[in-house]
């Protein structure tokens, strides 16, 4: 599949601007985790108070990527774990027979962030929320490309967010996972701005990813390399330009 990517905005610890990401891709800046959150002053306080860390990172990347225009784009939201810190707290409350917070319960579904965005931006276009294991980031592009083609769209917003999982779950996931949000506008293919993506089933069952998948893609995207192979347990991804 061939498509373009515009206005890629990503937030991962100290890496936040295109310049940060370019320096990182060239090996001149290293990633350091950090608890800072975007201020999101453009969101009214009564709406902002309900945004978790997970939601704030997603909102920042989505709104920066969209800029002033494009307020009615269709969207694909992807996350492997969703807002797991919130979900884990709810499960703990159930286990200890405490009353659940109705607000947290209402916002614990996988599409909560994209729903809050839809209310804030008054964007009533089609929005989906997907999860595809360790391939969630790459599959977001596949899903977005499918919608672009099948619904004959020119552009679609893609947003991917995941956080380092709560401590109880550390042993189940790779320690390469990081807290990150990435958003970009996926567009129809053109000469100036094009990416080619293919994938096939993984034939080497021992193969595991070299780095956290979204970071592998961003390293390709923000560097001058023309090709990259991204491996996961299930797939071999190939990106080129």
């Amino acid at each position: 599949m061939k498509f373009g990517i515009e206005k890629c905005v990503a937030w991962c610890g100290n890496l936040r601007t295109s310049n940060d990401w370019q320096l990182w891709a060239q090996g001149e800046l290293t990633h350091t985790p950090d608890d800072d959150l975007p201020p999101l002053k453009q969101i009214p306080a009564m709406q902002r108070r309900r945004l978790s860390r997970f939601a704030k990172l997603s909102f920042h990347c989505m709104l920066e990527s969209l800029g002033e225009n494009n307020q009615d784009l269709a969207c694909v939201f992807a996350s492997r774990h969703g807002d797991l810190h919130k979900t884990a707290k709810l499960i703990e409350d159930v286990a200890s027979k405490d009353d659940l917070s109705p607000t947290h319960f209402g916002l614990s579904v996988h599409n909560a962030v994209i729903g809050l965005y839809s209310i804030f931006a008054k964007n009533k276009s089609a929005m989906t929320a997907i999860s595809a294991g360790e391939d969630s980031f790459m599959m977001a592009m596949v899903d977005a490309y499918g919608k672009l083609q099948s619904q004959n769209l020119d552009r679609i917003l893609v947003v991917y967010t995941d956080e380092v999982v709560p401590e109880k779950y550390h042993k189940y996931v790779s320690d390469k996972e990081k807290t990150i949000s990435v958003a970009f506008v996926l567009t129809k293919h053109d000469i100036e701005n094009n990416i080619m993506l293919t994938f096939e089933p993984q034939d080497n069952s021992e193969q595991c990813s070299a780095e956290f998948q979204p970071l592998e893609f961003l390293r390709f995207f923000f560097s001058h390399t023309n090709n990259a192979q991204i491996h996961s347990k299930r797939y071999k991804w190939h990106v080129s330009r």
Binding site: A45, M46, R49, R50, D99, L100, S101, P102, T103, G106
Partner: protein, 84 residues
């Protein structure tokens, strides 16, 4: 009563994460929902749970009376006083 009023205001602010609001900003008599403070139906549920936890007072979600009890800080405090 005035002690309870301040306590309930503090509870509203903390439970509903009203980060820019001080207890003095909430009028005792003014509507909490929609018009006055601008709270919504999810806030009503959240506040119901918090009041149950803090004062062991259960508020029936569907009754017309609940709407009256939830109208303002004053009406909420009267209800808590009578039922705890």
């Amino acid at each position: 009563m005035s002690e309870l009023i301040n306590e309930v205001k503090q509870l509203i602010i903390e439970t509903l994460e009203l980060e820019d609001i001080e207890p003095a900003d909430i009028d005792d008599e003014e509507a909490l929902f929609v018009d006055g403070l601008g709270l919504d139906s999810i806030d009503a549920l959240e506040l119901g749970v918090a009041i149950k936890k803090a004062y062991n007072v259960k508020i029936d979600g569907d009754s017309e009376d609940s709407k009256k009890h939830f109208y303002s800080v004053n009406s909420l405090c009267q209800f808590i006083e009578q039922n705890r």
